[in-house]
């Protein structure tokens, strides 16, 4: 009796992926004249098969291996560890049987361990001279290097006191323990693209990955550009597998510092903690940009949609659910600092706007302290994107610029977005329908917050305000029920 096995590969949507295949029957390789289109005859007595699908080097898909068991009567079944990554279909004839082994390959693979390892290899030099990044990060985070990629509780975090702000109009914080983010926190590596090659993904337990659940809502956080920091000696290592990319592009945006975060200093953004604090039940995705390509393929927002779909599929497979939702849910994109330049350029692109991702999937965009001269462009691009769709939301958080001309320009942009005169600073004002937010905070507002919280001299410059608009004000945006 012949027992034929035809391996083939597909991605999560079921479309064909070209691969080379290798198969082993109880450890012995099975011969085939054409490893791109094999048809193996499983030797009698085989109990275990492993089949590896290897896409071409320049394919966007990673290699995958599945393990199958073969019963004494020749029935082929997936072993538990592989069951989610393979579909089997068997037809039985009089004296033979044939099984199609459809191996599911992904554009992503888990790179969490790789990235953790990168954090143990900091550079010793910056442009200013020798540095001890390990000691600096130990001071910031309390533990360094991290032993895992979890998001532990932060004992004394400070979050916006949204109700008090609403009643007083003042920038107000309250101290509390930020609970650990329960769920999956991983770094995934995207194959074949120039950038982004790494994505931090935080999938909270509150969004179960069960069969038949609704499409997943996503929050895509776009950090600042990397090129600007090269002169100071950052991002000198290879992209993306070097310390700065792992630390500054990923870890720093996921975590808060260990005491009084985020107000005690600036730098760490604690994005998933803000998501949790705001009550946004959403998956956080942070792409790792690189010097040169920066956010690469994300400039084509249809690709961004495909990447988020692929992340959803990969994470469902990790949870042993073979069939992810066929689309993704409401998505919000936020950008910080020069990241707003990228976001506004993506929105300004007519081809992007005509695509289904920006048109149908992205529900809101958040601009977190763009440069003053970039604010009008952000408003124009976002308004164009939201034109004619009452469901779309735009939220803009800026600091009050020092220069009077910049103040005038930024306030005018706020007025355009709000379609009304904004109040005197500081403000966090929504449009009557709640779909638009403008916020302007002053350096002195932040200085007061710091002094009130820590009873210390405030010695920071404008960057404290700039970074903390992202590290703290994001909570305000996320609390607007945009998902």
């Amino acid at each position: 009796m012949s027992n034929l096995l035809l391996p083939i590969a597909s991605h999560w949507k079921g479309e064909f992926v070209a691969c080379r295949f290798k198969a082993f029957a109880d450890g012995m390789p099975l011969a085939t004249p054409d490893d791109t289109h094999p048809l193996y005859d499983i030797p009698k007595g085989t109990s275990k098969l492993t089949v590896t699908a290897t896409p071409p080097k320049d394919s966007p898909f990673w290699e995958a291996t599945v393990t199958l068991s073969v019963s004494t009567s020749g029935e082929v079944a997936a072993e538990t560890s592989s069951s989610v990554f393979v579909r089997l279909k068997t037809a039985v004839a009089n004296n033979s049987r044939g099984t199609v082994v459809n191996i599911k390959v992904s554009r992503f693979k888990d790179a969490t361990t790789d990235v953790l390892d990168l954090l143990t290899k900091p550079p010793a030099m910056r442009a200013s001279g020798p540095v001890d990044e390990a000691a600096n990060n130990l001071s910031t985070y309390g533990t360094w290097p991290p032993s895992n990629w979890l998001l532990p509780a932060v004992a004394t975090a400070r979050f916006l006191d949204l109700s008090k702000m609403a009643s007083t109009g003042a920038l107000t914080f309250r101290e509390k323990t930020a609970p650990a983010i329960d769920g999956a926190s991983v770094v995934l590596r995207l194959k074949g693209v120039t950038a982004p090659q790494l994505f931090a993904v935080v999938w909270p337990l509150t969004l179960p990955r069960d069969p038949g659940v609704d499409p997943t809502p996503f929050f895509l956080f776009v950090r600042q550009g990397a090129l600007q920091n090269v002169g100071a000696g950052y991002f000198k290592g290879a992209y993306p597998d070097s310390f700065d990319y792992a630390d500054l592009c990923l870890f720093q945006n996921l975590h808060y510092g260990n005491t009084g975060a985020p107000l005690s200093t600036w730098g760490p953004k604690g994005v998933p903690y803000q998501v949790a604090e705001a009550g946004a039940n959403v998956v956080t995705v942070i792409p790792c940009n690189g010097v040169g390509p920066e956010f690469g393929v994300l400039s084509d927002t249809e690709q961004t949609g495909k990447i988020l779909e692929e992340i959803q599929a990969f994470m469902f497979w990790r949870a042993a659910v073979p069939d992810p939702p066929t689309s993704i849910g409401k998505t919000v994109i936020a950008a910080f600092s020069s990241g707003n330049d990228f976001l506004s350029a993506w929105l300004a692109n007519a081809k992007n706007r005509s695509g289904s991702f920006l048109k149908d999937t992205v529900r809101a965009v958040y601009f977190l302290d763009p440069r003053p001269d970039a604010v009008p462009g952000c408003v124009t691009a976002a308004r164009k994107w939201a034109e004619g769709d009452p469901k779309k939301r735009i939220r803009l958080y800026t600091h009050l610029p020092d220069k009077p001309a910049d103040r005038t320009m930024v306030r005018a942009a706020h007025k355009t977005l709000l379609e009304a005169q904004p109040p005197a600073e500081p403000y966090f004002t929504n449009s009557p329908d709640g779909h638009k937010t403008v916020s302007m905070t002053r350096f002195d507002d932040w200085k007061k917050v710091f002094v009130d919280a820590f009873h210390q001299d405030f010695t920071f410059d404008w960057q404290y305000t700039h970074h903390n608009i992202c590290a703290a004000m994001l909570t305000h945006a996320l609390a607007q029920n945009d998902f």
């Binding site: 791109t36 071409p56 033979s96 600096n136 074949g192 920066e294 400039s299």
Partner: protein, 422 residues
């Protein structure tokens, strides 16, 4: 669209082999549209003309014809050939017709990518070249299928069934039965014994996967003996029959010169797969080759020469599966299932590190499907298996590269605060 069936000939009144008559009943019962052969027999040219005149795109076209493994069908190529006395079309004739563009194909409005040509005859599927040439002359239908074995129609009184037979061929001079006799010159028992001995020698020389035949358990000899023990020229569960290879002179050749010039030819392509057991040693695994040495004068005047092949047949009482497998050979022009001229050009794009992929290549899929169908899997089951094959191209629409982004040119924003302030 129902099947269209051409009977390429009719049974001679005195022929005990009721092949065409039974075929007519078989296809009538099956609801096919029948086109009987004109008086004197059909030609391939006549088939083409009929198809052209009908002016309808065709699904399945059945060609019912005596045929043989020497790549010949009982159907002359053209009416002119028929008038010149030809009874058959050989693979050489098809090649000449292709090269000389002798026939005009029915055309793409009639022979489409969904047209299927199925031959109901004997053994002609053992010549792949015959099928390929026929496919080309028809104008590249989706597929041409022809039997690998002797095929026949059997009636149990009320129902006609299409069956195949396991056969063993031996070149014989003189013919099995001299005209007018009812038995071989030395009687059936002697003939059977001699045939079994010769066939055992011929087919037993071939190695099988299970090794040399064990003389103490000679399953080949037993199989031949069982098949021959009651066989005569009367059609039954087993029988003897003859195939003649006619010798035709070309140009100024005499018939004798033509006979002397017969080049070796076989009743099938070289079999590359080793038989698994002695029970598979038959005409489908061991070809018979004839040459000028096998010719003999068919009449005292030596105006006709021929080669005679005697065949012992044992009916396989199982439904015949008309799909690539032990029963039928199939050639196809469909890009999705045809063997690629260049393996690297086959869909799937896996070769050479290409990222492209226009979909799953069907060669292995087709092999699997054909194998299972041939082994009795139901069409439903096989369809479900085929449906599990991923389609499309997962790389379509994916962008992998993007130009360097120089958007980030504004005021430098520090990454970390000075540590003394942390």
């Amino acid at each position: 669209m129902g099947e269209l069936t051409f009977l390429l000939n009719a049974d001679p009144p005195d022929d005990p082999n009721r092949f065409y008559s039974l075929a007519q009943r078989f296809f009538t019962d099956a609801g096919a549209t029948l086109i009987a052969a004109p008086p004197g027999g059909q030609t391939l040219e006549g088939v083409f003309t009929t198809l052209t005149d009908l002016k309808v795109a065709r699904g399945t076209i059945n060609l019912v014809s005596h045929a043989n493994g020497f790549a010949a069908m009982e159907c002359p190529l053209t009416l002119a050939d028929q008038i010149a006395g030809r009874r058959t079309t050989t693979v050489d004739d098809l090649r000449l017709a292709r090269d000389n563009k002798t026939l005009t194909p029915p055309g793409p409005g009639i022979i489409t990518s969904k047209t299927r040509i199925v031959i109901y005859g004997c053994d002609v599927g053992r010549s792949e070249e015959f099928l390929k040439l026929l496919s080309g002359l028809f104008g590249l239908p989706d597929e041409v299928l022809a039997p690998r074995r002797l095929s026949l129609f059997i009636s149990d009184g009320s129902t006609v069934r299409y069956r195949q037979a396991q056969t063993w061929s031996l070149v014989r001079k003189p013919p099995l039965i001299i005209a007018g006799a009812s038995a071989p010159p030395r009687g059936w028992p002697n003939y059977r014994a001699k045939f079994v001995t010769d066939a055992r020698d011929k087919f037993g020389r071939i190695a099988t996967l299970e090794g040399p035949i064990d003389p103490s358990v000679d399953r080949l000899k037993k199989m031949l003996t069982d098949a021959a023990q009651n066989a005569t020229t009367v059609f039954g569960r087993s029988f003897f029959m003859e195939e003649g290879v006619d010798i035709f002179p070309h140009g100024s050749q005499t018939v004798e010169e033509a006979a002397a010039g017969v080049k070796p030819r076989s009743n099938g392509d070289v079999v590359k797969a080793m038989p698994k057991t002695a029970l598979e040693l038959d005409d489908s695994t061991v070809v018979t080759t004839v040459s000028s040495a096998d010719t003999y004068a068919a009449n005292p005047a030596k105006t006709k020469f021929q080669i005679t092949v005697a065949i012992l047949a044992q009916v396989i009482d199982q439904p015949v599966l008309i799909a690539e497998g032990p029963n039928y050979h199939r050639v196809t022009s469909s890009p999705g299932i045809a063997p690629a001229a260049d393996p690297a050009s086959t869909g799937g794009g896996g070769g050479g590190g290409s990222t492209g992929g226009a979909g799953a290549s069907s060669r292995q899929i087709q092999s699997l499907v054909d194998h299972l169908l041939a082994d009795g899997a139901t069409q439903e089951e096989v369809d479900a298996l085929a449906a599990a094959i991923p389609q499309g191209d997962a790389t379509e629409g994916l962008v992998m590269d993007a130009p360097d982004d120089t958007t980030d040119t504004g005021e430098v924003v520090d990454l970390v605060p000075p540590q003394e302030l942390a």
